[in-house]
């Protein structure tokens, strides 16, 4: 049971959240016509054995989307931030 510390709700069980995939990939602008950019965004992943920046949504809670840094080898979570503030 991962415990994820939501920035505004505090530490919660992972089943209060919904996983949203890799947060390190860059989403093209909504009107970007380049198929290569969209292909890379949708399909190409580094899949590291180590720190992984990923999206989680606190669905049973504030419903904010978060960016979580989790070590894929041992589930240790080193940071959690609102997606809105970390997309800069």
């Amino acid at each position: 049971m991962l415990r994820i510390e939501c920035p505004c709700c505090g530490p919660r069980d992972h089943d209060e959240f919904r996983y949203g995939g890799d947060a390190s990939v860059t989403r093209p602008a909504h009107d970007d016509p380049d198929p290569e950019a969209w292909y890379a965004y949708v399909y190409v992943r580094k899949n590291p054995a180590g720190l992984h920046r990923e999206f989680w949504q606190h669905v049973i809670g504030c419903r904010q989307w978060l960016v979580v840094e989790r070590d894929t080898r041992n589930h240790v979570i080193s940071s959690v931030a609102f997606a809105r503030t970390s997309q800069a």
Binding site: M1, L2, R3, P11, D13, H14, R18, G20, A23, R27, H30, D31, D32, P33, D34, P35, W38, Y39, Y41, V42, Y43, F55, Q57, V59, R63, Q64, W65, N74, H75, V76, F82, A83, R84, Q87
Partner: protein, 984 residues
């Protein structure tokens, strides 16, 4: 009834004022409150308690704890039957009915003990090598009998009537184990200001202290510390609770047993699983004694030295009169001394040539015979040990005995600490494994960390408790723990290396694995510990190899000429001890297996003949019994009612989302394939959303309520996914858009009235509303009031008939439903269920879930024109990938069944006529219905685009029912292609 001949007249921690009667294989026996089943059996002189897994050898009680490999029993009967319970941890309860396992016709005479004669055919990995011929099917023949002969207990097959519970708990510091280290840690952590949970699997606190005399200094120390802890509100003592798993986030899985003596029916759960979330954890789980490995070491009457001491001091049972204590360390001598003081004749056989002189001196004082540099090499005795063969400097000799206590050393109980993948590491000084490197929130103390002297474990626990509390930010000053010095000596152990022998020398008692099996595995190349484990099944029993793990590693290391650390160790995984499946489920069974959702009209459906169906979590009316004798008759009748008069359907389950904000229109333009920004206020539009990869995600209808406000509906199944998706885009992709999205699914009761009479019925019920075609055209919105409540009427059709969706606040839903039925009765209005709902839309050719299955695109579904020339919406770019536009891709078609009396089935695979029905075919049938319009079955299907010419025939094959049906390809709409009924 047997007398308890092995019970001493005084002493022990049993309550002699509460005698208990129980039944063992039909025999009535007696014990006392405070006994385990094992101690009561030993008190009654019962030494034979089971038959081994493969060879059906007679077995006795080896230990006094959860590490017990032999004494597994079955408790209870019928639905409450529970097999494989260790007698050593089973708290004795009044009226207990216990049966031994794995024997027929009786424990004393077990026919399958003849398996012993087939030993050579049943060695490790036998099922890969023997019983293989003469044909391939031969194994399946033999396997049937071998399977029946194998196994330990038998599971029951009746439903379990017991009540279980899962609960959630929190603590600052969780301490696992209540021996001297754990008690000391709890005391310190609590004093430092932490909220402490002390977890103990036994029904008494104390751990190894319970093996000491119940009237000595250890008992006094235990009483003092226990009293101190009981007096603290911040300490929760969890007895009878086993920590079975350590999970991420310092979440511990705990399984608690109910007290067996509570005969009042309080409805209390039989077992409770607690998920304990702790800030920090102290592991004080102690150590498990190692058996010695020698020929016939599995005879009844052979037990671990510390176990014999526990039976003596805790339970006042003297399990033998002529006792041999085989030792390789100092601790076992304490067993010898206590047994001698209780009146037994004791001989110590120590592997070491020069054990500490102080021990020899004490032995002399007590009349204990001592043989140094001596080991047991063989035992004799069938149902109970009778003679031991000893080998020493003077050669071999035989000694009569009725109890053998053995101690091959100690293995720290590291299992829980490796559940998260932290590999244990070897320490030379204790010749054993301790835990690997801990994260900052974990501490370890006592024997589990290799500190064996009681005084050391108390100090260690004290330190760990302070550390654990400090991690939680609690560091009030703590006084030193009371002292306890039991005067133990701890010298380096000597490893027991098995000598040559003739009989079976067991390493894993429960799985019947011997030294010969390990040698065989090594010879055949299975020499890594992972292979050794799986090839021999060593360590794979219900005891998880607790008493065999180290000896197996040491044996394999010896064979490989390597050291133990070089050989490595396998990974321990949860559960540490078995947990009942019922306990893990708790109350989430039957009625509560999953949460259920009900619409505002649920009670009406139940009271008015609806056969209810689970659709995801929702309860929906499947069909109404008054429509027909069964679902197949009913749905057709309901379809006819809708097409000829009118039907009323509860559609409250639809996902509904409120979309608001100055940028709401722009937002919808980006998330839908078709445009919404120019949708006039008061109009609705069918919309399709794609995924980023160009595949259709969901469809629904969105209505513009105001310039900056929209009412979006989604499919029932995808409601939550769509909302999350919208929030994802707003939070991460387009954070500048000023849009708020909120689920309003439960706010609105929704019902659809469909059929030629629908408008007349609305006019009758809402005389003050203008429901004319001019005021409310197809895809129009009418907002009004009904009984003082807001009412929305959307003219939308799913069935292809003239139809309206009505939305009113959930608390008024049932009332509106009733009123519409009343108003509609003269027009022939009847309710219809989801079966008819689905059938109507198939007839009309609307795509739904079976077509929008995560693999289809807009073009596949014939909806390519919806996007027109638009771009810049989610999924637009990747939907134009060449592969997704290939002509051979499966496209939506209609099918008509052209064989009388036959039917189409959803999921049937399509082939060309004359083609062999083999492989994936040319497509698949997605949705079917009997069509009252056409008088035969029709369906929607996805068929390879280059085969999909209308008028051609295909063959629909459904192998699971061996059905083959011919069908003709037609346009995917079976009535009113011009939509006259919708608009007329």
């Amino acid at each position: 009834m047997n007398a308890q001949n092995q019970r001493l007249p005084g002493g022990g921690r049993i309550d002699r004022s509460h005698p208990i009667e129980f039944s063992f294989d039909g025999r009535k026996l007696a014990g006392y409150r405070g006994d385990t089943l094992a101690s009561a059996l030993l008190a009654n002189g019962v030494t034979l308690v089971g038959r081994s897994f493969k060879y059906h050898r007679p077995r006795g009680i080896l230990s006094a704890g959860p590490e017990e490999p032999n004494a597994l029993v079955t408790l209870g009967s019928g639905g409450r039957r529970e097999p494989n319970l260790p007698a050593t941890t089973l708290e004795l309860g009044d009226g207990m009915v216990v049966e031994t396992q794995n024997r027929w016709p009786s424990l004393a005479f077990d026919v399958q003990s003849l398996n012993g004669l087939f030993g050579p055919f049943l060695s490790a990995g036998f099922y890969y090598k023997t019983f293989m011929g003469p044909t391939r099917r031969a194994w399946m023949f033999y396997e049937h009998f071998i399977r029946k002969a194998a196994g330990l207990g038998r599971a029951g097959t009746d439903p379990d009537p017991a009540r279980y519970e899962v609960r959630h708990a929190f603590a600052d510091v969780a301490i696992i184990g209540s021996g001297p280290a754990g008690l000391s840690a709890a005391r310190a952590a609590a004093a430092a200001g932490a909220r402490v949970a002390l977890i103990e699997q036994d029904f008494l606190l104390g751990g190894q202290l319970l093996a000491e005399r119940s009237d000595g200094i250890a008992a006094a120390w235990l009483n003092e510390v226990e009293a101190e802890l009981k007096g603290l509100e911040t300490v929760t003592l969890m007895k009878r609770t086993s920590a079975f798993g350590v999970y991420d986030g310092n979440v511990l899985g705990l399984a608690a047993q109910r007290e067996p003596l509570d005969t009042r029916s309080t409805g209390e759960a039989r077992q409770t699983v607690t998920m304990l979330r702790a800030h920090s954890v102290v592991f004080a789980t102690g150590a498990i004694e190692r058996p010695m490995v020698f020929s016939n070491n599995d005879r009844p009457g052979v037990m671990l030295a510390s176990a014999a001491r526990t039976y003596l001091n805790r339970f006042a049972v003297l399990p033998g009169k002529k006792i041999i204590v085989a030792a390789a360390n100092d601790a076992a001598w304490r067993t010898a001394f206590d047994l001698a003081e209780a009146g037994a004749e004791v001989t110590v056989a120590d592997l070491r040539a020069a054990p500490p002189p102080a021990l020899a001196a004490e032995a002399g004082r007590l009349g204990v015979a001592v043989r140094t540099a001596t080991r047991i090499v063989d035992l004799r005795g069938g149902h109970a040990v009778r003679r031991a063969t000893l080998s020493g400097p003077g050669g071999q000799s035989e000694t009569a005995c009725d109890l053998v206590c053995m101690s091959g050393g100690w293995s720290p109980t590291v299992h829980l600490t490796s559940h998260l993948g932290i590999k244990p590491r070897y320490r030379d000084d204790i010749d054993g494994f301790v835990p690997g490197i801990f994260p900052a929130s974990w501490s370890g103390a006592g024997a589990m960390m290799g500190a064996y002297a009681t005084a050391d474990t108390i100090e260690d626990g004290h330190r760990a408790g302070i550390e654990a509390a400090s991690f939680c930010g609690k560091s009030a000053p703590v006084s030193a723990p009371p002292k306890l010095d039991l005067g133990e000596t701890v010298t380096a152990p000597l490893r027991d290396v098995p000598s040559a022998h003739r009989g079976k020398a067991f390493v894993d008692f429960q799985m019947d694995v011997t030294t010969k099996d390990i040698e065989l595995a090594h010879r055949e190349g299975y020499e890594s510990v992972e292979h050794l484990k799986r090839y021999t099944t060593l360590g794979m029993g219900t005891d998880q190899g607790k008493t065999s793990n180290f000896a197996a590693l040491a044996a394999m290391a010896g064979l490989r000429g390597a050291t133990v650390p070089e050989t490595g160790t396998t990974t321990f995984r949860p559960p540490f001890t078995p947990v009942a499946i019922g306990a893990l489920a708790g109350r989430a069974t039957g009625h509560h297996f999953k949460p259920f959702r009900r619409t505002p009209m649920h009670d009406w459906h139940q009271a008015n003949g609806a056969d209810m169906l689970e659709v995801g979590l929702w309860m929906r009316p499947w069909f109404y019994r008054q429509s027909g004798a069964d679902v197949n008759e009913a749905y057709v009748a309901e379809m006819r009612t809708v097409r000829q008069a009118a039907g009323l359907m509860d559609i409250s389950t639809l996902g509904k989302i409120d979309v608001q904000g100055p940028d709401a229109a722009i937002f919808l333009d980006r998330v839908y394939a078709n445009g919404f920004a120019k949708l006039p206020v008061g109009r609705a539009r069918y919309g399709v959303m794609l995924r980023d990869d160009g595949i259709v995600f969901d469809d629904g209808t969105t209505t513009r309520l105001a310039e900056s406000r929209f009412f979006m509906t989604t499919s029932t199944a995808k409601a939550a996914d769509v909302l999350s998706r919208l929030e994802f885009l707003l939070d991460t992709a387009w954070p500048d858009l000023r849009v708020a999205v909120t689920s309003v699914s439960d706010e609105w009761a929704a019902m659809s009235i469909a059929g030629p009479q629908s408008r007349a019925i609305l006019a009758a019920e809402f005389p003050s509303l203008d429901v004319s075609d001019a005021a409310l055209p197809h895809m129009g919105l009418l907002e009004g009031e009904w009984e003082g409540r807001a009412l929305r009427i959307l003219r939308l059709s799913y069935s292809g008939e003239r139809a309206y969706e009505l939305y009113v606040g959930a608390t008024a839903g049932a009332q509106l439903w009733n009123r519409l039925l009343e108003a509609g009765d003269p027009f022939g209005l009847k309710p219809y269920g989801v079966e008819a709902l689905g059938a109507l839309r198939v007839e009309k050719g609307h795509v739904a879930g079976p077509e929008i299955d995560g693999r289809t695109t807009l073009d596949d579904l014939g909806l390519g024109r919806i996007a027109g020339k638009r771009s810049g919406f989610v999924g637009d770019v990747l939907r134009r990938r060449p592969a997704l536009l290939a002509p051979a891709r499966e496209r939506l078609v209609g099918l008509e069944c052209i064989e009388d009396g036959k039917r189409l089935r959803g999921g049937a695979i399509l082939f060309l006529p004359g083609e062999k029905a083999h492989g994936h075919g040319r497509g698949r049938v997605t949705s079917v219905t009997f069509s009252p319009e056409r008088g035969h079955y029709v369906g929607l299907a996805l068929l390879a685009g280059d085969m999909a010419a209308e008028g051609n025939e295909v063959v629909a094959v459904y192998p699971m029912k061996a059905e083959t049906v011919r069908a003709r390809i037609v346009a995917p709409v079976f009535l009113d292609p011009q939509g006259e009924r919708l608009h007329g």
